[in-house]
């Protein structure tokens, strides 16, 4: 190797310190001809995999390392020479995290000494022990420290010298070189890199300010003094070490010693313990044949041959053990009453179905195993499991117990800078006024922080700032910080299970949740490392269905089993076709409610299509409208070739599913399942033009061989190309369709149990609790207010209605709930004082219960109760019940507006009036209620008013904005065309209560108001 190698380098995975993505560092290294590069982030290997991959792809040798914090706060740089060194680094990083409180990793020197094998140690930056002692004027102690490291690491210890042209750097270098010469230790030059290119020093300053919660003006003491911490080429760094060329040469020497391979595919999953004398393949086959009889009775020839086909392929791909692992998890779930189902492409597998991993019959649903597994796959397919949110922790703990904490960990995820937090944090660092930052962050709707400029430009309020230099800095910094990791969190469900101890592969650290440990890689990193993960995803709808079914068993029918309900109930489909689907899984969104009256699903298969099509992809791919038109008989159903008919019949000739893309490629061009899946992937979002061109020729040749004309074949190929990018996975949709039906069935037949469960499992779905309360009311189910004697922690069914639970009241936590329930069981509460004396509830909890109306049953006004609470607090629970004349006051009752406001403050909803009832008197004449407006003929000009409960501007809508407003009578959909939106954009974005003028539109049973004018509704509510 020639030149210089950077061995001390931070990416943005040194959170709020490094100012470049790993791939930017690699790209810069490639530009300057650096033959190798190290990554040494603070106390972690978070970016190691993506760095490794990017470096390998760029032809640069990756050196994997870390900058560790020692117990005294000093830094040390460690580089892995080999797999032993890499494992030792993982173990050291793990120990530094697990032995300390979260966010404060550090390690003792003695631990370092125990795990020194295979590691090259550099003495560190200014914060290294040796350097900091010299800077403190303690050269004797600096020498002692250096000897100590030399004794542990021997010839693999180097004194690290850095010259970033900071004040004192040259003197420090000189002192370090002298010390190294005296002790016979080699030196190495590094540049303490924190960004790839010089101009990123500004972003690094901003990150430092964010980390220190300071502005640029007031952070001079913590920011770096100059812009010299970038990746320097050999020619740039050489003059700084003119007197010590050996230090530069040693960087090359060290890089040559470091050879680590980050491919762990041989550790992918543990051996499953099978009965003696059997292999995983034999045991899996036995299980499948046994369980196929449970699923199918006597399995048909088709089922039997499909199972054999799948088992054969699973065995050839060495996946039998993986299937057994997943089966075991699902078996535990089943035996322990944990609602769970496999999701995604796994539902294409009959083996997965008979094992009980998935709930969808692939034979009946006409699914396709090749979409899940085929011989040409290069990576293991994930089997993801949806589990009831309420039970998820139990399942995760089972996996930890079964495989041991050394072999199982949660995957992490990186919470990144998005538009709102980018605006606030970057703006604050730049010293921008908080009020402006607040308004900007509320007004912005773009998805990425890169688009903030375009988004805000359209708003007059901010245009005046836009020509200033400060704005340029702000926008540029927001753009640069987009997608930077901000902090680490646990992935929603990814668990990694390995055959070797995980700490040898990836460092672990504490999660925020007590007792939970997370690995430092996210799911992409885990996949790139060749490891396997199982996603255990909490799905609240499973909790809802489970809870509603339990309530039905308790209140109505002790033998009720949701799995036995008929799947063809006309009344349920009638409800769905009316778009009366608030709270129903997957089909409650505004877009779904607009489509259901048109598509009129009448079967699980229809619901499968419904779940799949209302997504940005199919809408963009122009699949939805042709399907709807054919469904309504407005367009003729046709097929480009007879071979496509059996595949596309179910979707009226329109390609909607990924499985159909594969089947079409097989039917027309004779592709194998693997080739067909390669075609789908080449055509998908991550398009590969080159791969597509190769496959196109193969497709045309295969079509010719099957007697399909070239013109037709080309048209079919282009159609596949258009749809493949956007098609949805049918097996995934089918799994969800079943849940959609079950939730609709419950809403139809047991609404009080349904709404109780829906309110108990928030947040979920599309709508807030206050909207759910309104929907319940319209279905004849009253949501009764929180009551100190009648409520429990959760919402309960009470005489066909729902009693709101204590959990909805702010500051009433689990301890308070247990306390209340215990006391309720002894005897009812008779007064505020009784509650106060018998429970240990805090002031806040009691106050909030009063404000929410929980003690209205005592017949004393809320304001009076608050006064009395103050007196009780003064007296204390042990004090004597003395009464003084000056404390006896008669206070006026709260007005209904005040009560309503208090209820919304305390619990986010009111069980009494809708706010619009109180505003109605003050609303101008001519403003109609939503039900009135809906009853008028199409084309009528109307004005309505209400709360905005839903606001959408989908990318597929060509600038149209969709609102849903609610008043005391119901919901109304509003469509805002682009020209109208331009005029009223600020109102639309920021006002919760609006008056809207427009024209009624009625099409295919769907009612909208096409808006022409929007304004905020500013009225004084009726006081009574």
């Amino acid at each position: 190797m020639d030149g210089y190698v950077e061995l001390h380098c931070h990416s943005n995975f040194s959170l709020l310190d490094g100012a470049s993505h790993p791939k930017e560092l690699v790209s810069a290294a490639s530009d300057i001809g650096m033959p190798a590069l190290a990554l040494t982030d603070h106390d972690g290997l978070y970016g190691a995999i993506r760095f490794y991959k990017a470096a390998r792809a760029a032809g640069i040798k990756p050196v994997i390392g870390v900058e560790l914090t020692l117990d005294g706060g000093q830094h040390i740089t460690l580089l892995a020479k080999d797999s032993t060194g890499y494992s030792n680094i993982c173990r050291l990083v793990t120990k530094s995290h697990l032995d300390n409180s979260k966010g404060s990793p550090s390690i003792a020197f003695s631990s370092l000494a125990e795990k020194a094998s295979g590691i090259i140690c550099l003495s560190g930056c200014r914060k290294g022990e040796v350097s900091s002692l010299i800077l403190d004027g303690k050269p004797g102690r600096a020498e002692e420290a250096a000897r100590r490291y030399r004794d542990v690491f021997g010839q693999d210890f180097f004194i690290e010298v850095q010259n970033n042209l900071c004040p004192g750097d040259e003197r420090l270098c000189s002192s370090l070189i002298s010390l190294a010469e005296r002790l016979g230790i080699r030196c190495v030059a590094t540049n303490n890199v924190h960004y790839a290119r010089r101009d990123a020093h500004r972003l690094q300053d901003i990150l430092v300010c964010i980390r220190n919660r300071a502005t640029l003006e007031r952070s001079g003491g913590v920011r770096r003094p100059n812009s010299e911490f970038y990746l320097k080429a050999a020619a740039e760094i050489s003059p700084l070490f003119r007197a010590y060329p050996e230090a530069l040469r040693n960087s090359l020497y060290i890089a040559e010693q470091c050879n680590v391979d980050l491919n762990f595919s041989s550790y992918r999953f543990p051996e499953f313990a099978v009965p003696e004398g059997e292999t995983a393949e034999i045991y899996l086959a036995k299980l499948c044949h046994e369980k196929a009889r449970e699923r199918y009775g006597e399995p048909s020839e088709r089922v039997a041959s499909q199972i054999d086909y799948e088992l054969n392929l699973i065995s050839r791909m060495n996946l039998s053990g993986y299937f057994l692992i997943v089966w075991d998890i699902m078996d535990y779930a089943k035996k322990n009453g944990i609602p769970a189902q496999g999701r995604g492409s796994a539902a294409n597998s009959v083996v997965a179905y008979v094992l009980g991993i998935t709930r969808v019959d692939p034979i009946r649903q006409n699914l396709f195993f090749g979409r899940f597994i085929n011989e040409e796959m290069s990576s293991i397919p994930d089997i993801d499991i949806d589990v009831s949110t309420n039970h998820r922790e139990r399942l995760i703990q089972y996996i930890y117990r079964k495989y041991g904490e050394e072999h199982a960990a949660m995957a992490c995820t990186y919470v990144t800078f998005r538009p709102r937090n980018a605006i606030r944090e970057v703006g604050k660092a730049l010293g921008m006024p908080e009020g402006i930052l607040d308004r900007m962050s509320k007004a912005v709707i773009c998805y990425s922080a890169r688009e903030i400029d375009d988004d805000l430009k359209a708003l007059d309020e901010f245009r005046t700032y836009m020509n200033s230099e400060a704005w340029e800095h702000f926008i540029r910094s927001c753009r640069e910080i987009a997608d930077f990791p901000r902090h680490l969190s646990i992935h929603v469900g990814g668990m990694i299970i390995s055959s070797c101890p995980l700490v040898d592969i990836v460092p672990l650290e504490k999660a925020a949740m007590p007792g939970r440990v997370v690995c430092q890689w996210d799911k992409d990193g885990i996949e790139d490392a060749g490891l396997v993960k199982v996603d255990i995803l909490g799905l609240r709808m499973l909790s809802l269905i489970d809870e509603a079914a339990a309530l039905v068993r308790r209140n109505r029918d002790a033998g009720f089993d949701i799995e036995r309900i008929p799947q063809d109930d006309g009344k349920v489909y009638d409800m769905i076709c009316r778009a009366d689907t608030l709270g129903v899984f997957q089909v409650e969104s505004r877009a779904q409610m607009q489509t259901l009256p048109r598509t009129k699903p009448r079967s699980i298969e229809d619901l499968t299509v419904e779940v799949a099509i209302i997504r940005p992809g199919p809408l963009q791919g122009n699949m939805v409208h042709p399907y709807i038109n054919r469904r309504q008989g407005k367009e003729k159903v046709g097929y480009m070739h007879p071979r496509l008919k059996p595949i596309l019949e179910e979707t009226l000739g329109v390609i909607l599913f990924q499985e159909q893309v594969l089947k079409c490629a097989i039917a027309i061009a004779g592709f194998s399942p693997g080739e067909a899946d390669s075609l789908r992937r080449a055509m998908s979002r991550k398009r590969s033009q080159q791969a597509m061109e190769q496959l196109k020729q193969r497709f045309l040749d295969g079509a010719r061989g099957n007697g399909v004309g070239q013109d037709v074949a080309l048209r079919i190929f282009d159609t596949l190309k258009g749809f493949a990018e956007y098609g949805f996975c049918k097996s995934h949709a089918a799994g969800f369709a079943l849940l959609a039906y079950q939730s609709a069935w419950l809403k139809c037949y047991y609404p009080s149990e349904f709404y109780a469960a829906l309110l108990n499992n928030q947040p979920m779905g599309f709508y807030s609790p206050h909207v759910i309360v309104g929907d319940a009311r319209r279905h004849g189910v009253k949501v009764l207010p929180v009551d100190i004697n009648l409520s429990r922690g959760k919402c309960m069914v009470e005489g066909g209605n729902v009693r709101l639970g204590f959990r909805y009241v702010k500051s009433v936590g689990e301890t308070a709930i247990i306390d209340l329930e215990q006391q309720q069981a002894e005897k009812p509460f008779s007064s505020l004082e009784d509650v106060y004396l018998r429970t240990g509830l805090s002031r806040d909890a009691l106050q909030n219960l009063v404000m929410a109306g929980a003690m209205d049953g005592f017949g004393v006004s809320r304001r009076q109760l608050l006064w009395d609470l103050g007196l009780l607090e003064q007296r204390g629970r042990e004090g004597l019940p003395m009464v003084y004349a000056h404390t006896e006051v008669a206070l006026p009752a709260m007005t209904r507006v005040e009560e309503l406001s208090a209820e919304y403050d305390m619990q986010g909803l009111s069980t009494g009036s809708h706010p619009m009832e109180l505003f109605r008197e003050g609303v101008p004449d001519g403003v109609l209620k939503t039900a009135e407006a809906a009853s008028l003929p199409a084309g009528s000009n109307v004005t309505v008013a209400g709360y905005v409960i839903c606001h959408q501007m989908p990318a597929t809508s060509k600038g149209h904005v969709f609102l849903t407003i609610e008043d005391e009578e119901g919901l109304m959909n509003i469509v805002i065309r682009p020209d109208v939106y331009e005029k009223y954009r600020y109102v639309e974005r920021t006002e919760p209560l609006m008056m809207i003028r427009g024209q009624v539109q009625k099409r295919d049973g769907v009612i909208n108001i096409i808006a022409s004018h929007l304004e905020p509704l500013k009225v004084i509510p009726t006081s009574s």
Partner: protein, 90 residues
Amino acid sequence: MKASKRVTKRPKEPQQIEVDVDAAGEPLSIGVYGGRQKILAVYERWRLEDEWWGNEERRCYYKIQTGHGLVCDIYHEMLTDIWYLARTCD
């Protein structure tokens, strides 16, 4: 460089000075106290950059000794290409 008993003085305002430089931009001589003093040694170099968001400063500092025995800190303000005397040691 050993700690010296010299007293350092900082002028109230950095004093603009004339400096001759070589092809690499390194200072060769400075104009102070009415005359030209050749630079015999550059003991240290450092760089300070600040306030890129407002009144930007980009300075290269040098601790030098001249042929007249003057030890001082000078700096080159890179944005204006002006040299200043920052501090002297008596």
